[in-house]
Symmetry: C2
């Protein structure tokens, strides 16, 4: 199972099998049941997760009890809670498992520790973080400018995979609209494609 992570790393940076075995002793694999909580709001997180199989998410719950999905983390994605990682502060978000999931649990200093052995880990880290920022810029732009329909179309082309695995109310929650609205959008789209 760890070999998935090794393959992932080797695709990104030049790291030998020996180097990997040196850093991989810090890694643990953990299994989460569908629906299982990983981190509650208010707790202090000290781990980063790399999803091997399954699907995790981070989300908030607002004052009216509605949930808002900040991020999906399917296979080969990272999930972490930055308040804890950076400053030992309490989390603003919840983390849980949408599907039965196997994930690698990395201690928060994993990157800096392993970079002492494999310097290129820093490059990897930088690339990953910059990429995350790039994606979030796009998402913010979408939230600022797009209609419900545009958001949904963007989502299904960007994440066709997730579209099938995730219940619609979660997609709605990720897009910032209600499940009812999403249902209407889908209905309209279906009509458009029938009589063009």
């Amino acid at each position: 199972m760890l070999s998935i992570f090794k393959d992932y790393l080797q695709k990104k940076v030049a790291i030998t099998d020996e180097q990997f075995s040196l850093i991989s002793d810090k890694l643990k694999i953990k299994t989460f049941e569908k629906g299982e909580m990983i981190l509650m709001k208010g707790e202090v997180s000290s781990h980063v997760y790399f999803v091997l199989d399954g699907l995790l998410r981070s989300y908030s719950i607002d004052s009216k009890g509605k949930t808002h999905i900040i991020q999906f983390a399917p296979e080969q994605w990272w999930l972490s809670e930055r308040n804890g990682i950076l400053f030992n502060e309490e989390s603003e978000f919840f983390l849980d498992a949408i599907e039965n999931t196997k994930a690698i649990v990395l201690p928060k200093d994993f990157i800096s520790e392993s970079a002492k052995i494999v310097p290129c880990m820093y490059e990897l880290n930088s690339t990953m973080l910059n990429n995350a920022i790039r994606f979030m810029h796009r998402r913010i732009n979408m939230l600022l400018s797009a209609t419900a329909e545009e958001r949904y179309l963007n989502f299904i082309t960007l994440y066709p995979n997730l579209t099938l695995r995730v219940p619609q109310w979660m997609i709605a929650s990720y897009l910032g609209i209600t499940p009812e609205s999403l249902s209407r959008v889908r209905k309209d789209l279906a009509h458009k494609h029938f009589k063009p």
Copy 2:
């Protein structure tokens, strides 16, 4: 002027004056006039900006010609365009100057180059990027869950400084609402505070 940047670095990481002088020869200071374009959508960016004095922004323009502000960068903030930095790809966003601005222009490999001399630059980089992600998670959460009024109140408490320096239509654009709506929100808030 470069000393501002030195002070900034020394506040964040342990870097000596000598070390700074070793890495600072790659740095240029550039002045931008109010309204001056820094990067057009479609261009390939290869620089990162650190604002010494003034105010920069990144934004998009949608199909109806409306602008959406992705980020403000006042003093001591970073501004960069990740498509270019990471993959030499074309920018999705525009960068320009809201005020007359002095900024340090860093070549895109500045961090990795200077880390060869001052290893702790990697830690700085990681902290900065993680922090940016943390802020954007909050912003996404706000865009998903908050009303126009809540967004505005959040903005003025978070950036009281910007609230005064930036025209209201830009704040509206950052919040994802129209200038007219923001004007209404402000009117309502004023009423609330008169008769509590």
